[in-house]
Amino acid sequence: MAKEMKTYVVVPAYNEEKVIRSVVLEIQNAGYRDIIVVDDGGTDGTRAAAEKAGATALRHRINRGKGAATKTGIEAAKLLGADIIVTMDGDGQHNPGDIAKLIEPIKTGRIDVVLGTRLKNPLGMPWYKIWQNKIGNIITWYLFGLYVTDSQSGFRAYSRRAAELINTHSDRYEYDSEVIREIHLRKLKYREIPIEVRYTQYSMGKIQKQGFVNGMKTVYKMIWGLIS
């Protein structure tokens, strides 16, 4: 009988004390016990809440951004012997019920990276988010050479091999696009799978904070990364 593949779920979180417990419990209820929450230098009790809920909780002493926290979580999962690593947001917008769909192509050994995409089924997604994403996809394609339908999604799954090969340097939101570049550069096999996104009042509040100005900062960082 083939050895059961060890799946770790990595959740980067910044000031998510209010929801992190329910996020962790939901992941556990979906059948995944190995959860790593990375508290990215927040000022609330995210780490303690995650630990109490049963997750392995890590903490950045200072805030370094979603990309940096995700990478820390992936490094931790590698150290703990993960075969498959899933990343998802800490604000509860992703449905852990989708994890099984995401990891299936990796389990069969045919795919290295699975990208959860919100745009194949954008039901309930605000129109400006759809356009914001489309612009992000075009910029990512232009700068990094690979067109995907949701270059900004944080809900992804990686095989151990992909996690070893992908080498990112971005700390903040440009991280998601940098992963796309790495898939292209390292010639990794990828698949896009539609995911559900739950736009609650809480997660929408978080999205507003990542508005136009942050979008422009992300584009600037992506261009700077190319010329520096």
Partner: protein, 116 residues
Amino acid sequence: MNSLHLYQIAIIFIAAVMIFQGAMNFVRGKNNQTILKLLIRIIVWGGMAVVAIYPDLTNTVAELIGMQGNINAVILTGFILVFLMIFKLLSAIERLEQQMTELTRKDALGEMKNEK
């Protein structure tokens, strides 16, 4: 071509160093240097070197945008220097940010290892 002025030599030297650094980074596979990054570096710094070697090229540009007079050359040199300083400063900040992230990550992972 007339003899080179000091500022021309300086620009050529700086451009050569920047292109050489980029090429070495690419050859060593350092800092995730890609062929695209290297090409952009060669175009930006190579372009500056070409203008420094053949300043007459700028006459065509000057005619196009309607600039006249020697003072423009001085202003242009100032711009190039400021550009260079900003470029170096931003590179240094970026490097420091990455080092800071690395330290933060090592600290977080070290704490996890100690707890296990």
